[in-house]
Each structure stands twice: as C-alpha cells, then as structure tokens.
Amino acid sequence: MAAAVRAQSVSKWFPLRDGESLHVLQGVDIEVEERSVAAIVGASGCGKSTLLNIIAGLIPPDRGEVFLNGVPSKSFTEWRSLTYMFQDDRLLPWRTAAQNVAFGLEAAGAPRAERRERVAETLALVGLADFAEAYPHELSGGMRSRVALARSLVTRPSILLMDEPFSKLDPSIRSQMHDEVLRVAGLMGMTIVFVTHDVEEAVVLADTVVTLKPRPGRVQETHVINLPHPRDPLSAEVAERARLLRRSLQS
C-alpha cells in the first residue's frame, strides 16, 4: 500500500528573541499508510504540533520534505483532500451548524446548490441532521465537536489531521467521538494522522503510534497496535499497550 503521508528527515528551527534559534524537530521520518490511523505521541514541547502543522502545509520545514499522496507538499494543490481538526471546535458563533459546516467548502467556492447538498449529507453522517439551523451556543459540547468534525469532512478529504482532538471534552463524550471518527474514516476510506499526549487515546484509535523524544523532537519508536476494533478503553489489552507506550516514552 502507498503512503498517504510521508515525512522525510524533517527538521525545524524556531528563531528566538536573542538571535538564537530553538531546534524543534530533527530528522523526523514518518510514513502513514493509506486508510490507516497514525498517532504521534510525546510529552509537551516535543514538537508534535509543529510536525502536524508542517504536514498540513501551514508552516514550511527548514530541512526535509513532506509527501502527501506521493506528491511533495510544495507542489501539492489538492488542499481540499486534506483537512485539519483543532483541539477545540472553533465553531463560528455567528453561523448556524449548517453554515459552520459550509465554511469547509467556501474557500474553494463550490456552487451553492452543491454546497447545500454536501452540508446536509455531512450533517446527517454525524447524526446532526435535525440541528442544521441551531447556533453553536444552543448545542452541547459533544454536538459542537460533531459539527467541527462535519466541517472537516465536508470536502470529502482523503487525509484528516487532528491536533489533540476532543481533549477538551468529557471522557464519555470523548469516547463517543472516537467511535464516530473511526466509523466515518472507515466509511470514507480516510487516512488519519493525529497528535496527542494521551497514550490511551493513541492505543484506542491508532494502527501505528509514533513516539517522539523532546528537545529536539525526533522519532523514538514506532509501535504497531494490531488489536481489533472496537477497542474498549477500559480493557486489559488497551491498558497493557498503553503501559508499554508510557514506559517507552519515559526511557
């Protein structure tokens, strides 16, 4: 299978005020197979969010290269096939749920009729067909997350990037969102790369988990999690994998 996302010896420095620079990432190699879920795990300050932003094309790497669906990200133009989910839902308060979902399509300027159809479809996909006209402040945290998910899915992306997704939700709703994302990803044949500091979350969702070592951030190990889905976050297997991961992070 081809790699949907490939980072090749990616390095990044951030300039500091005193003319020095902070070495954030050093020679990071990551390969994520098509239709698989990869987690990037590490302590805070290990550069995992920076790595995700580089993959997303939001900031350029200083060295190395990122390939998306086999194309170097510099010449990658299919930005609609890659979407980004933030830590919080970032719904625009002045837009209804449907209008928030439509936001995902607006950059490309899709025709109005097509847009409306896609939005309705995607809201139905995440189980919010009845709440299209509700404003964000009228929705619960879980529902808001679904709207944000729908906004990311409305362009029918093949790659979904998530930065500590759902970390601000209650544990029970969070677990629902995990099921939801995996269901939809399977349905749409998406590749998912997400960043987290929560090893349990990584074990529940991911096929492969990459651990990063901090200062400068570099790949420590790649773990394959071959447990069958759905994975119960409270099961012994998940706990055992999580324990192994945590130990590898602490070494």
């Binding site: 933030f86 402040h137 009228e138 619960s140």
Partner: protein
C-alpha cells in the same frame, strides 16, 4: 451513544426558539406608562403655554395646526428629502471610508500607531467648526452639509472598526488559514462578522449625530432643507414652525429606530446568546 440524550439541550426538531417570550402583562403595563407620560407632558405643555405669549411657547393645539399646515405645504417633502439625502450621503461616505481605513489600521499596527494622533485631533474639533470650514470651502451647496455629517460620523465609525478588528479571535483566523482561505476571504468571513455588532452600534450613533449636526450645517450653509427652514422660522419668530419641524424630526428618528434599526438588529444578531438575568 448511550450518553447522547443527556447531552442534548432543550432544542427540539432543529428549530431553536428563544427561551423567553415577554409576558403579556408587563407589555400592557409599559404601553400604559408611555401613554401616561405623553398625557403628562402634553398637560404640562398646555399649562405652561397659557402663561406665555405664542411666539415664546405656542400651545400643543397651535403646534398641531402649524404641523398639519406644514405637512400639507408643497415644500415640506422637498426640504425633508433634501436634508435626508445630505445626511445619507455624508453617512454613506463616512461608512465606506471609516470601514476601509478602520480595517487597514486594524490590520497594520505600524499604520495604526502612525495615524492615531490624527484621529484624536479630528475627534476634538467641534462639528460647528467643521460647518464653518465647510462654508468657506464649499459655500452654499449640498457638499457643506455632507462634509459636516461626514466629519462627524467618520471618526466614530473608523475608531470602532479599528478597535473591533483588534478583537478578532486569532483562532478563527488560524481556522480560516487551515481551510486555505485567501486574505480577502478571511476579511469577509472572520473580520466582518466579528466587527459587525460593534459597527452597528457605532453606525447608529454616528447616524444620529450626523442627522443632528446636519441641521447646524444647513442653518449656516444651505438655502434649502430642514435646517434652513428652521433658521427662516427663527428669523421670522414663527415659533410654532420651529416646534412643528422639531416634532417631524423626532417622529422620523423614532420611526427609523423602531421600524428599521431594531428589526435589523434583531435579525442580524440572532446568533448572540442573550445574557439572562434571573
């Protein structure tokens, strides 16, 4: 999925309704109170007018007569229309310039810091001084009034838009960038909606100020319009005419507020969560 029902708020069938509807009782009470105030005002006016000559304080009946005659007179709608046009033109220019420069100054910190003192200066100059300058520069023309309205309304709108564009949530801009939106799209889809409530409040204020100073400008530098008629009436000591025009203007501003601005505001800002005090 089992926890879902407990997390669903009281929004059913996708048609959210306002949580509160004003009860019938208080509403009637308010109408009664307003009517009472009106009667009290008219009564006091009547009593006061009895003790003063009509050229100082004409009574309500006399003003009513003057007003009826005024509305029926051929020049009434022309003067009203002219003044309204001038106010609207000045206000429209102020909106375009105020929003454009407000966004520009908001977008660039350097420009903002550079121009800040200029704005303070403009704000401190009285509208009457602008009227005098306008008279010197434009003479007896529409532009005198338009200029004064513009100079009064523009700094208000500019300052609000400028300050408002500083309150734009950086997270939303980042979101728009993640969706590959252009600068123009970010401006239209993130900045404008953020600024709109503030802009609306300042535009309402600016329009009110503009409408009021337009009369000052017209008394000095026009040969038509409501301000000019007011000065004419004053020169001829037609106090009832002054009252009649005043009545007209008050009625117009009230109509604008309740027939245009209030409904527009309700429609535009439906998305806002009402702060409810129990």
């Amino acid at each position: 999925m089992t926890a879902a029902p407990s997390s669903v708020p009281a929004v059913a069938g996708g048609a959210p309704k306002p949580a509160h509807k004003p009860a019938r009782g208080p509403w009637l009470k308010i109408v009664a109170m307003r009517l009472g105030l009106l009667v009290l005002f008219l009564g006091l006016w009547q009593v006061a007018s009895l003790g003063a000559p009509a050229f100082v304080l004409p009574g309500p009946a006399r003003v009513w007569e003057a007003w009826s005659a005024l509305v029926a007179s051929p020049g009434f709608w022309r003067d009203l229309g002219l003044t309204f046009q001038r106010v609207l033109a000045g206000f429209a220019l102020a909106t375009v310039v105020g929003v454009a420069f407000g966004l520009l100054l908001g977008a660039s910190e350097t420009l903002g810091r550079f121009f800040e003192p200029l704005l303070t200066v403009i704000n401190t100059v009285s509208s009457s001084i602008w009227a005098i300058f306008a008279l010197i520069w434009f003479g007896l023309s529409d532009w005198t009034t338009i200029f004064v309205v513009f100079m009064t309304a523009m700094p208000l709108i500019l300052t609000t838009v400028w300050q408002g564009s500083k309150t734009v949530n950086a997270d939303y801009v980042e979101l728009a960038r993640a969706f590959r939106m252009s600068r123009a799209q970010i401006l239209a889809k993130i900045y404008l909606p953020t600024i709109l409530p503030l802009f609306f409040a300042s535009a309402r204020l600016a329009f009110g100020f503009g409408a009021r100073v337009s009369l000052v400008a017209e008394t000095l530098g026009a040969s038509s319009g409501v301000g000019y008629r007011l000065r004419q009436a004053a020169d001829l000591v037609q106090t009832d005419q002054v009252f009649a025009w005043t009545l007209t203007l008050v009625a117009l501003m009230l109509a604008l507020e309740f027939l245009v601005l209030k409904p527009l505001e309700t429609r535009l800002f439906r998305w806002k969560k009402r702060a409810e005090i129990d």
